[in-house]
Symmetry: C2
Subunit: 276 residues, 2 copies
C-alpha cells in the first residue's frame, strides 16, 4: 500500500522518514473553512492517503492534542495546536498588540476593522472586529485574501520585493464575485501609489457594495508586517473621510511595535492656550 502522495519520492519508503511528517502535516492541511470536522475516511480522502495511514497518524495527532475526536467520531483541530499557534509572532503576536487599537478604531467608526499579514502569495486575515449587525463581509479570521484585489493585499504587496510584485502582477487573478480587478498596468501604478501614500483604497460590489481603506503596520526595522483596514458600505462614507483614522491607528500600532516615525513637523499646541 503505497502512500507517498506528498513526499518527493513516490512508491518507495524513504530512508529518513520525513514523508511521515509531511503526511501528518497534510492531515492538518486537510482542514479548511468548509471542512472543520471530518470522519476518518473524509480525512484520508482529503489528505490523499490510505485510511490505515490516516488512522495511525491521526491517533498520534490526537494524543498530542493537535486534533481532537468528537463524540460522533469526527476529527477537528485541537486546542493544543491553537495554543502553540498563538505563539506565532506574525499571527497572534501582531494581533495582540493591534487589538486594543483596533477596538478604539471600531468604537469611533462602528465599521469592520481588519488586520492581515502576508503568507506566501496570499494575505491571511488575523483579526476582524465587527458588530453583530454589520453588513456581511467575505472574509473570516484565519481565511485567505488575494493580494492583488484587496486593500490589505495591495498594502502588503506594495511592501514586497520588486521581483515578487512582478510575479504577482503578471499572474492572472482568480476572479471572485464583485471583486475589483486591475490590469497589470493599473496594478503597477496602484502599487507605486500605495507605497508613496501609505494608503490603499479598493471598491467591491459583492457580497455587498463596500469600500476598503488600508494602511501599513510597520515594525522597528521599518518593515511592513501587517495591513490594517476598515471596510464601510460604499456610498455611506467617503474613503477620504475615514483614511486619517485608519492611518493614525496603523501608525499607533507601528509605534507600539517599535517603529519610529519621521520627525514631527507639526506644531504642539499648549493645552492651556487651547479653546475648549
Amino acid at each position: 500500500m503505497s502512500s507517498e502522495s506528498t513526499g518527493p519520492v513516490r512508491g518507495k519508503r524513504p530512508p529518513q522518514g520525513q514523508p511521515v511528517v509531511d503526511r501528518a502535516l497534510s492531515l492538518l492541511g486537510a482542514f479548511t473553512d468548509r471542512r472543520r470536522s471530518m470522519t476518518l475516511s473524509e480525512l484520508a480522502r482529503n489528505a490523499e492517503m490510505p485510511v490505515t495511514t490516516a488512522l495511525r497518524l491521526a491517533a498520534r495527532l490526537v494524543e498530542w492534542g493537535a486534533l481532537e475526536r468528537l463524540d460522533d467520531g469526527r476529527y477537528v483541530v485541537g486546542v493544543r495546536l491553537w495554543e502553540i499557534a498563538s505563539l506565532s509572532p506574525r499571527g497572534h503576536g501582531v494581533r495582540q498588540i493591534a487589538l486594543p487599537f483596533m477596538e478604539d478604531l471600531y468604537e469611533v467608526t462602528r465599521h469592520h476593522v481588519l488586520l492581515a499579514v502576508r503568507d506566501g502569495r496570499d494575505a491571511v486575515l488575523i483579526e476582524r472586529l465587527s458588530s453583530r449587525n454589520a453588513p456581511s463581509v467575505a472574509y473570516r479570521v484565519g481565511g485567505r485574501l488575494p493580494l492583488t484585489q484587496t486593500a490589505v493585499g495591495l498594502v502588503l504587496l506594495a511592501a514586497a520585493t520588486r521581483r515578487f510584485q512582478d510575479e504577482m502582477v503578471s499572474e492572472p487573478p482568480e476572479l471572485e464575485p464583485g471583486m475589483a480587478t486591475f490590469t497589470p498596468d493599473e496594478l503597477r501604478r496602484q502599487l507605486v501609489d500605495v507605497a508613496r501614500t501609505g494608503l490603499a483604497v479598493v471598491h467591491r460590489s459583492a457580497p455587498s457594495a463596500t469600500v476598503s481603506v488600508a494602511s501599513p503596520v510597520q515594525d522597528a526595522d521599518r518593515r511592513t508586517v501587517a495591513a490594517l483596514s476598515i471596510l464601510v458600505p460604499d456610498g455611506s462614507t467617503s474613503p477620504q473621510a475615514i483614511a486619517p483614522a485608519v492611518r493614525a491607528t496603523a501608525r499607533a500600532i507601528s509605534r507600539t511595535l517599535g517603529y519610529r516615525h519621521e520627525k514631527f513637523d507639526g506644531v504642539h499646541i499648549r493645552p492651556d492656550l487651547e479653546a475648549d
Copy 2:
C-alpha cells in the same frame, strides 16, 4: 545517534515511523510563552533531540509553514499553523461567537473579560479583552490556568465528570503567588456551589489584588464548552454587582451556540407602555 526521547520505544528505530511525527510535534511543543523564538540548537535542546534531527525536521516544518525562519536564523511558529489552528472549534470557534458579546461586556464594565476552555488538566485562555491601562493580570491568550484555583477553572471543573473532579481535588495544587487555594473539602463544596448557581468567585492577591467572577457557556447539548469571566480590582466593585452582567453575557453566548434556556418566567413589558 539515538533520539527516541518522546517515542514509546527508546534507542531503537521503530518499524512504522510514528515517532518521527512525535519528534516533529515535540519541536512545535518546545515553543512556549517565554520561548517564542529559538536558534536551531535551542530548539534541539528543548525538544530533546540531536541537532541534525532537529534541522531535518525543522526544514520540513518550515517548508509547510508550521515554523518560520527569521533573518537572524531563529525559528518561530508560522502563520500557516495559526491559520489551521484558527479552525479549532473549541479554540477559535467559540471565541469567534463570543467575541462581540465579550466586547459588549467590556464596553459596559471596562474590566478585563476572559474566555477559557478546558484542555486536559488545565484551562486554556482563548480570549482576553483588556484596556491598555487596565491592571496587569497573570494570563495571556493561549496560556494555561489551573482548574482548581481560578474562577474560570472552577466553572470548567464543576462541569466535568465526578471521577475527574475527585482526581483534581485530591491533587496537591501548584502554588502560584497570591492565588486562592482551597482544601479538598472546601474545593468540593465550591464545585457543588458553582454547579448549583452557575457562578464562581475567586479572590487573588498577586500580581494585584483582584476578584474574578465566572459563569459557564453552554452549547445546544447543554454541555459547558467554555467559561466567561470578568476580573476586577478587589474592593472596587462587589462580585454581587458584576455577577448579573457576567451571567447575562454567558447566557447570550450560550444562546448563540444553540443553548435553549429554561422557560422565561418573567413578565414581558409592552414597550409602548414603558416610561421613557
